[in-house]
């Protein structure tokens, strides 16, 4: 059993500290939004989780491409670890959005382009995991996973484009959004600071968990190898 690297231990503590600070920023530092009230505070973690989800799936697509080029199993471990984390964060994104939508849109769910895209994204990567589950040969599993990871990542933006033509009520806070969207608001400087800090914190949480997950996958493989050696001896 190899010990946990010192850098990872430091990262654990750093991420924990950042998260506590982010909680402070979101609940105490950022002002209360005038129209929506305290429920608007969902926004900070809602967008951060969505951002991390997208980054995670991008990491999967890139490490899939690198795996196909180099055939180093480390890239495949990274790809699958990132999918698992991306699904968790994308799910946090959907659930927190739903909690925000209940008071603001007066419904838990609506068939809005962003909501549909988020759902499709979860379903695609669920299929990714099922594909991997159905293949025993590790090399083939890695190759198929890489190809599907790339196909999936290209398909999601096209899905978003294809439903964007429908009317949207989802607000676009960053950049210029439709002013008629329900639940949009202007960020004060303190809100912006809390938001950017949440983004940073969530990115750190992702990086820390990714490291742990990749390390766990490597350890699992070591255990498998040892077991094979013992049973064949």
């Amino acid at each position: 059993m190899e010990p946990m690297p010192r850098a990872l231990k430091t990262l654990n503590w750093l991420t924990a500290a950042l998260f506590v600070a982010a909680l402070y920023m979101v609940f105490l530092y950022a002002p209360r939004e005038a129209v929506m009230g305290d429920v608007q505070r969902v926004f900070y973690f809602h967008v951060s989780a969505g951002w991390v989800g997208a980054v995670a799936f991008l990491v999967t697509a890139i490490s899939g491409a690198v795996f196909l080029a180099r055939r180093d199993p480390r890239w495949d471990r990274l790809a699958v670890a990132s999918v698992e984390l991306g699904m968790v964060f994308a799910f946090i994104n959907i659930v927190s959005g739903s909690i925000w939508a209940r008071p603001v849109w007066n419904t838990w769910w609506t068939w809005d382009p962003r909501l549909v895209t988020a759902t499709i994204m979860e379903l695609i990567y669920l299929a990714y995991l099922m594909l991997r589950q159905g293949i025993e040969d590790p090399d083939r599993r890695a190759r198929f996973g890489s190809v599907y990871g790339i196909v999936a990542f290209i398909s999601v933006p096209i899905t978003f484009l294809s439903i964007r033509f429908f009317r949207t009520i989802h607000p676009v806070v960053i950049g210029s959004g439709d002013p008629t969207a329900e639940g949009t608001f202007d960020m004060t400087p303190r809100m912006l600071q809390a938001f950017l800090f949440s983004l940073l914190t969530f990115t750190f949480i992702y990086a820390t968990l990714l490291w742990h997950r990749v390390r766990l996958a490597r350890l699992t493989e070591h255990v498998e190898e040892r077991r094979m050696q013992l049973t064949s001896a």
Partner: protein, 242 residues
């Protein structure tokens, strides 16, 4: 298989121009698929009967009276094509794997992507044949005229996108343990843009919407077809190697 055999660019075994050899390889695979189907008649027959059953189910599930038909015909048609399509895709690839044909094809001195385009073209022919029966049948059953030139174009573009992604994913799905249930799970979320765009374009054409409204959906279909043909071309090698 030795790695040297797996390198692409081995077309033109008899010293002919590479492009001609490549096209000949594609044509040979399409001919093989059509000849096999002509003798067994199991794939097309199953797809057709399944499609008609789906329309029957939609008829009762949606109560396709004259008023509803105007708005849901496009959706019924494309759901039927999408479901019948997975049936064909699964079968077409499973045949290659089960009888060891795929190994034989991989030994042939042609570029791997030629195999992909051959299989995809064969699947496209089956899709279009199903459409060629379903469209007149639907027209006759519900007295709607589906024979608009624009609609033929949408069917062609939609089928190309569906078949390109479907062939790529089915060649993965048939090599998995859970293959019978895996293909629709892999395919439907990825192919959703095609279904949306095709339904919208078909609906627009049937309701005689102004061309500007339809053009966006057609462009989306073309873009999807081009992007995923390129992706499949680049990644198919990695699926069939070993």
């Amino acid at each position: 298989m030795p790695e040297a055999l797996a390198t692409p660019g081995r077309v033109g075994a008899r010293g002919e121009r590479p492009v001609a050899g490549y096209l000949r390889a594609i044509a040979a695979i399409v001919r093989k698929d059509l000849a096999a189907e002509l003798r067994s008649r199991e794939l097309l027959g199953a797809m057709l009967v399944f499609s008609l059953l789906l329309i029957l189910i939609f008829n009762f599930a949606l109560e396709l009276d004259a008023r509803t038909r105007r708005t849901v015909t496009a959706g019924v048609l494309w759901s039927t094509f999408a479901f019948a399509g997975t049936l064909g895709l699964n079968r077409s690839m499973a045949l290659e794997v089960d009888r060891g044909c795929l190994d034989g094809l991989l030994l042939a001195p042609v570029d791997r992507s030629a195999l992909f385009f051959g299989k995809a073209l064969g699947n496209l022919v089956f899709m279009l044949l199903v459409a060629a029966v379903i469209l007149p049948a639907y027209s006759a059953l519900y007295s709607v005229n589906l024979f608009l030139p624009g609609l033929m174009g949408v069917v062609l573009l939609g089928s190309i996108g569906y078949v390109v992604v479907g062939t790529l994913l089915s060649s993965m799905a048939v090599q998995a343990r859970t293959r019978d249930i895996l293909l629709p799970l892999l395919l439907f979320p990825v192919v959703l843009p095609v279904v949306i765009a095709a339904v919208k374009a078909t609906g627009g054409l049937l309701q005689a919407a102004p061309p500007e409204e339809i053009r966006g959906w057609i462009s989306l279909l073309v873009a999807y077809d081009v992007i995923f043909t390129a992706v499949a071309f680049m990644t198919f090698d990695y699926i069939v190697e070993e």
